[in-house]
Symmetry: C2
Subunit: 228 residues, 2 copies
């Protein structure tokens, strides 16, 4: 009998590559012998803490990333459709409040992480598929409703997400990511033989599988992809 | 009958990720229905032309890349063993003369590119496996000898590599890479339905295969890997 390997996924809904990584890991949680832990964190804090710069500031790189993202989204079957002004969305509006809301949902949820998973997905869908706001309470409320949360849970999360407790929790998770060596998201930490193995980005799944003694079956290993 | 798709591989022997990409593409040239064209170019010129900065300047990123490189090298079966001072090797010594030498070998070679392939591999082996110099004529000569070139061919290439013709050719190839949108190496251009599709890095082979209607069989699809 082999026990499940703990795999932590650090992500932020402001990051489209995180969405790809998130969907793949959510699909593989039932394929590989792993216990997936969702770790919503704040990408802005990681970039600042690591002294990293957004990759899209080099024009050739930005043009490539747009193209690459479209190809990957199609291949991964994740409905990414960039917002009209990605710079405004990513760097001016940001995701601090949104990630506090996700953290609050996680804090409230008992016995699993289905609600965190669904709320995260609906926030990504708003920003990276439908070009909708993810900075206002009304937006969090709409996303959570779509994710299937009850009105009372939504109200509870909205209240909680501005509390010091949740601000501190998000800060703490972000610091944990930095302590693991993060410089961007998505970042996956696979605990293998008691050692944390870090994988950055949404293009190391085949290598990750190899390191865990699992098999990579491509980005859509089962029918869960069709739900998106 | 389907005609082979032309696939251009832009690379520089100063770049270890280029080595991974190079070996994979050389292995797949006989697996996929492609005509691989080796395009030795100058990474320093691409970085400057695109206004890009080396990724290793962020400490967390550098630490990750070292780890990532070791894991990938093992998985790809490419004997990468970082030099004692990678910064000196990459940024102080550089690869301008080495890539001129590779360009000269390509200029001289008739009917194929086996010599360019082998000389490039031996230069990578010197810098990224054996921590040896790749800036001096003696080093080029040793690499070319290992690659199986005759003494007279080596002498011819050594003479040619300082000529204006070869300097211009390398410059031209580097400009072509920039015109395709390069901001780093390895860069692969797949000509699909008359359109150039760009793939950056050594982590898009599965996507590349998908775009070309080919199948990705992992980094070691046949026994050629054992030759390294």
């Amino acid at each position: 009998m082999t026990s499940k390997k703990v795999v932590e996924l650090f992500y932020d809904v402001v990051s489209p590559y995180s969405w790809l990584g998130f969907e793949v890991m959510c699909r593989y949680r039932n394929v590989w012998n792993i216990e997936l832990k969702l770790r919503p964190a704040f990408l802005g804090g990681v970039m600042q803490g690591a002294g990293n710069k957004p990759p899209g500031l080099v024009p050739n790189k930005f043009a490539y990333m747009t193209k690459d993202m479209n190809r990957l989204a199609k291949y991964f079957e994740v409905p990414i459709n960039p917002p009209s002004d990605p710079f405004e969305v990513m760097f001016e509006k940001g995701s601090l409040s949104a990630m506090r809301f996700v953290t609050a949902v996680q804090q409230i949820e008992k016995g699993g992480d289905k609600q965190v998973e669904r709320v995260s997905r609906e926030l990504w869908r708003r920003i990276w598929s439908e070009d909708k706001d993810i900075t206002q309470p009304q937006s969090f409320s709409e996303a959570a409703k779509k994710a299937g949360l009850t009105d009372s849970k939504i109200e509870e999360a909205l209240k909680l997400c501005t509390s010091q407790e949740i601000k501190d929790k998000l800060k703490h998770t972000t610091e944990e990511a930095l302590n693991y060596g993060a410089f961007g998201f998505p970042m996956v930490i696979c605990h293998i033989d008691g050692k944390p193995e870090m994988f950055f980005g949404s293009d190391r799944f085949e290598l990750m599988a190899n390191c865990m003694g699992e098999k990579w079956l491509g980005p859509t290993p089962n029918s869960s992809a069709s739900k998106l």
